[in-house]
């Protein structure tokens, strides 16, 4: 076994979820007929209850173009898409040197996230 390329590209959680869905993970309630291994189903379960379950390819593309003025690195953009922070305190650990790079516009960035990625219909977020 030879490793040709260690890092061929960073994937967002949504892309992995989309890939598993295209293999048939969503359609099979018995989990026996779909050509997926049990370990792949575990990854599917994890991704379904993360922020990626309600995202679409278009919304991620939209977010990437709209956050260009903030000059975020690729890994920061991927982290924000994966975690989907809904407040400034949640976005703080994702971005290095948040204050010196963004300052006040951190709030705008949080607004942008909330606008492009609507929160999923789950209980704890809507209660607050």
């Amino acid at each position: 076994m030879k490793i040709l390329k260690e890092n061929g590209g960073l994937l967002t959680n949504f892309e992995v979820l989309d890939f598993l869905r295209s293999r048939g993970a969503a359609k099979d309630p018995t989990r026996v007929l779909a050509p997926l291994a049990p370990s792949e189903f575990k990854v599917y379960d994890f991704l379904e209850q993360s922020a990626a379950c309600s995202q679409t390819r278009e919304s991620i593309a939209e977010f990437v173009t709209k956050c260009k003025p903030y000059k975020l690195t690729k890994s920061e953009i991927v982290s924000i898409v994966n975690v989907r922070p809904s407040s400034a305190v949640e976005i703080d650990p994702l971005i290095e040197d948040l204050d010196s790079r963004l300052g006040e516009s951190a709030e705008e960035l949080v607004e942008l996230v909330l606008q492009v990625f609507p929160p999923p219909p789950d209980q704890s977020k809507s209660d607050e």
Binding site: K5, G8, V16, S39, V83, V89, P93, S124, E128
Partner: protein
């Protein structure tokens, strides 16, 4: 959290598989070999993304199985240092916390990387477990197993395979050390929302 890795592997295709279309047979072999296994320095293999090329198909003397050289891409789970991940609490003891992602369980938050200042309170329900409590601004915040815990990846270790298996813990080929030290935003999500 996930990235693609391109690999090349030489594999023998058993004769009973030769009735299948070659793509399926090769994919099945690769899945059996790599899925849910840890490759050193690359991470945990989640899935075969695609097959780029299948070469060869020569049958060596004295064998019935053709040998193919396959180039393919795998989806690997390998968080980068500094990434923020949400995971569920699996175990909480005096050494720290153990978190689980469902498909990956070896995430450890040692007690030195808990938010300052924390203390452990022995749990009345389970004998070996403790509950960790964080004191901040005269308020106490409890880490219970109720909601997901966000942590920062501090380090990823790929320990060598030991020659003798220890009885107490099964060998973990990939371990993630996480940290909850931050200016805000890490720890159970209910602390911040």
């Amino acid at each position: 959290m996930f990235n693609l890795s391109k690999l090349e592997h030489t594999l023998r295709l058993q004769p009973h598989l030769l009735g299948l279309p070659i793509n399926e047979a090769v994919k099945g072999e690769l899945e059996g070999l790599f899925l849910d296994k840890v490759i050193a320095k690359l991470g945990l293999c989640i899935s075969v993304y695609d097959i780029e090329s299948i070469d060869g198909g020569f049958i060596f003397p004295n064998e019935g199985a053709p040998t193919y050289t396959v180039k393919f891409r795998l989806i690997m789970f390998r968080p980068f240092v500094g990434e923020i991940i949400s995971a569920k609490l699996k175990e909480s003891n005096a050494d720290g916390l153990r978190l689980s992602l469902g498909f990956f369980d070896d995430i450890h938050i040692p007690k030195l990387l808990m938010p300052e200042p924390s203390r452990a309170k022995p749990d009345s329900e389970n004998k070996n477990q403790v509950k960790w409590i964080w004191s901040f601004n005269d308020e106490e915040y409890l880490i219970d197993g109720y909601d997901e815990i966000r942590f920062r990846v501090q380090n990823i270790k790929f320990p060598e395979i030991p020659n003798e298996q220890k009885e107490s813990k099964p060998f973990a080929p990939m371990e993630i050390i996480g940290s909850l030290v931050s200016d805000g935003g890490l720890g159970p999500i209910s602390w911040w929302v």
